[in-house]
Symmetry: C2
Subunit: 234 residues, 2 copies
């Protein structure tokens, strides 16, 4: 791969300065304040690596899982089988961190061919705090719908990977069909949520690491943003 | 005021542990992952103070202003006077940090009587990065609508304070009328945005420090979340 050529900023700034700047960048990512972006800032590579591999990412995953769990338990479900929790898959239930660790934690421009190879290995580890939430909402009686930007062609490897990672008993696994491939994720996911609503489902919870999982039409009653400073999907 | 009685957690945890935990809490606040909350976590008082008084808050304000500015400049306005940028007032254009510094940075339960006294002093400083964005969007030809949860009774002091802080030439200042007082901010602000849309305005940008400024119906084409770890408005 090719790294950008100008690396001086990496060494010009104090580590405190960089920490401040990259934390500010991360908050801009997580609050959806940034324009569509393709790679992480070069000077934040170490910051993103430390966050993802250290305790920060784990702490954030655990908090979003526990907050979502508190909310799920606070609801009185109708019992008619129409109460739904939607989960995204990548960086929500399954982690591609091993792949991104080998590709600069978001510093390299996304390579769909390489990433597909990784997906077809079916080796993405489960995100433990999300598995905890997943089991909680199933036990509470929610219908669980998985809504992913992965291709319909990847259905069987996705099922295999999810199962291996401990995810079971979902009610629907919705992938991108051929007519969906050119749609931005926000459009594709909004259409699928609207279909759920038309079918009489109530979307009470939605967990995703991208704002394109959570915004758009037919939004969930409450949405939970998992952390992901490595990549952006419009 | 009364502080909660159990203070041992403050001293049990290492400062690194606390930093991690309070950063994670702040992430959950800024991404709207938390249930409605009334006060900041007691153990995060120093963290919130350091963030608000130090360079972190300033860096985040500057980033959101610059990202919004880049977006504003990227748009081709219609020239028919119907392109709108909406700004919230408190913690978006005007800062109440001097008030909150005297009230535990969000550790004290909100006291509307005391806060109103502060508002009537008309001494809230302007938020400089927001003033920069404000002037930019005015110069670009946006209509500027200020949409605030402040009461209609506070119109003149709000005008006085805004003017003193350098904000001028807005097109509308929308405050809460008597019939709006019991509405959650999300409802009140959604209604007012819907009215704008009915009147033919296009809401292209929206800046606010609360998710209740930005979510709900008739959302802006793009929304910009300013940081505010001190308080939550539903």
């Amino acid at each position: 791969m090719q790294y950008p050529q100008h690396t001086e900023t990496r060494f010009d700034k104090s580590s405190e300065e960089l920490e401040l700047e990259c934390t500010s960048w991360r908050f801009a990512v997580e609050t959806n304040n940034l324009s569509p972006w393709k790679t992480i800032p070069e000077e934040c590579e170490s910051y993103v690596k430390d966050y993802m591999m250290g305790r920060g990412y784990k702490a954030d995953l655990e908090r979003v899982s526990s907050e979502a769990g508190i909310y799920a338990m606070s609801l009185q479900l109708s019992g008619d089988g129409k109460d739904v929790w939607v989960f995204d898959v990548d960086e929500t239930l399954l982690s591609n961190l091993p792949y991104y660790a080998d590709h600069g934690y978001g510093l390299e421009i996304f390579n769909p061919v390489e990433f597909d190879k990784w997906v077809y290995r079916g080796m993405s580890p489960g995100i433990e705090p999300s598995l905890k939430l997943y089991e909680k909402v199933l036990n509470l009686g929610f219908k669980v719908f998985l809504l992913t930007g992965r291709s319909e062609k990847q259905r069987s490897i996705t099922i295999e990977n999810l199962t291996k990672a401990g995810f079971r008993s979902w009610d629907k696994l919705i992938l991108r069909d051929s007519e969906d491939h050119d749609k931005p994720a926000t459009v594709f996911k909004s259409e699928k949520r609207s279909k759920m609503v038309e079918e009489g489902y109530r979307i009470l919870g939605n967990s995703g690491d991208q704002w394109s999982d959570l915004s758009g039409s037919s939004p969930s009653n409450r949405s939970f943003k998992l952390p992901n400073p490595m990549y952006y999907i419009p």
